[in-house]
Amino acid sequence: MKKILTLSVFTLLVVACSQPNNNTVRVAGSTTVLPVVSVAAESYIKAHPNSKVVVNAGGSGVGVNQVGSQQVEIGMISRDITQKEINQYPQTSFTTHVIGKDAVVPVVSSEIYDAGITSLTLEQIAKIYRGEISNWKELNGPDKDILVIDKEASRGTRHVFMEIVLGDKEAVAAGADLVLGANNEEQTALTQSDSALGILSNAWLNDDVKGISIIMPDGEIVEPTLENIINNKFPITRDLVLITNGEPMGEIKAFIDYIKGPEGQKIVSKNGYVSISK
């Protein structure tokens, strides 16, 4: 009896640890791209019952690393791949596939928004992140310390934002109070605070976390609307990208084509991003 038990446990282990079948496409990375890909994966599986798509989060840095080390077939990123990352994986030839467009928006707690801070210049935002402005009073807001929320260093949203605002995608934000990760974590922190400034993907804004407009050097106030993202007026935009190792083939290609196709692009728009057909 004991022998049989041991044997069956052993077989189970072997089965459980064996390679997943070839139809499985593993995806991981940016939480900005995640909503699109996970919804797309669901409807893709419905249309192709023999396929399996497994989607995980982690952030753009994780997406690049896992494609680089060949742990997943598709990586989701919402920024460019850095030179350092390309050098890290000489065996991997990263191929990018743009599936949509998004903006990175500075966001404030609703209390701050309602108190009248609805737009800032890039210079003012930079000063807050550098720690030179630390109270909303200095920007004609309420007398409250600014809770400056930064993001983990390799997050796509941070790279894109810091490149435009502080001039270097890996700039150090000396004024930061908290460092958080995924879009939803950031959203929660912004909602819980009444004096926070953070960075979010445009699609993650809602009534509790309000995106502010950017005052351009010529005085024009640009709101983070889809229209302004499409015509590139909003200063901080980026592509939503899937990456593969070399040109995708078979199931992987089929899934990427599905997202680029009409049904996938519908999902992109539905999630608040700009589809590539526009």
Partner: protein
């Protein structure tokens, strides 16, 4: 026998793998590991703020959990009637089985907002919040082991004390606690191990910023622990890079801390036992 060897082998393996992977960091960064700036983009890896955070959070957790835990254990083993003891103890032990991510979510949803409103902070993600959560997480370990320690003291000690005319609180204070001292210390040590190593709940609550608060005893500010750093960055670092090696190095430091604490306590109590 075999399982003992397996445990020893696994511990050794972890030690060797961690050291091997962190060798690059130790040789290339050297003593600069003990500086303040952590910036992988510029190959700066200073761990001081994380060491500080780890010690601060653990200290808060122990300060809250040890007195509370021992008091509860005295109650369950000495004061509570035996027929209730089992139910109460099972309920407490159930606490130990709750996954730490659940504690993290409760911490984010409730504890952090309470801390923020009580102390009028702009954010409830602080070292104190993480410490409070950790205290709740290690309480069951302390309670249940201390309770066992007190309960397992042979009846004759209690009866002799009673016979000498001691009051109940004197029996607990003068007879039972000193007798159970070693086991209670063991319980605290086990709890300490969990507090030092806990990742998910701490990561969600501690604020994750690589700074030592200003002034340094202001524990109501966000910080970073070794485990929260590892949890947030290990997936982002490329295998084989200096960044990855530095993360292994801080893991190795944490392991060293735990081992040192364990050995110190063991030595201390061995001496005690001899002098008895």
């Amino acid at each position: 026998m075999a399982s003992t060897f397996i445990s020893i082998a696994i511990t050794l393996l972890i030690f060797i793998v961690l050291f091997g992977n962190s060798y690059d960091a130790f040789s290339q960064i050297g003593w600069d590991l003990f500086s303040l700036t952590w910036n992988p983009a510029k190959d700066q890896f200073g761990v001081l703020s994380m060491l500080y955070g780890t010690f601060a959070v653990t200290l808060i957790a122990l300060l809250l959990a040890v007195p509370l835990g021992i008091a509860t254990a005295i109650f369950t083993s000495e004061i509570l009637p035996d027929r209730f003891r089992l139910y109460v103890k099972s309920a407490i032990e159930l606490l130990a089985g709750i996954p730490s991510i659940i504690y993290g979510l409760i911490g984010i949803a409730l504890v952090s907002t309470w801390v923020a409103s009580i102390f009028e902070l702009s954010s409830g993600r602080t070292l104190v919040t993480a410490g409070i959560l950790l205290a709740i997480m290690i309480l069951p370990t302390i309670i249940t082991l201390t309770d066992d320690a007190l309960h397992n003291i042979p009846k004759k000690y209690k009866e002799t004390s009673k016979g000498l005319g001691l009051y109940p609180y004197e029996i607990i204070q003068k007879t039972l606690l000193p007798l159970a001292k070693r086991n209670i210390a063991g319980a605290v040590l086990l709890a300490l191990g969990r507090a030092l190593g806990e990742t998910m709940a701490v990561m969600l609550l501690v604020g994750s910023i690589d700074k030592i608060p200003q002034p340094f005893f202001n524990l109501l500010s966000p910080g970073q622990t070794i485990t929260s750093k590892l949890g947030r960055e290990v997936g982002e670092s490329a295998f084989g890079s200096l960044h990855f090696s530095a993360l292994n190095a801080i893991g190795f430091l944490l392991l060293l801390i735990v081992i040192t604490l364990t050995i110190c306590t063991q030595l201390y109590f061995r001496k005690e036992a001899r002098s008895l």
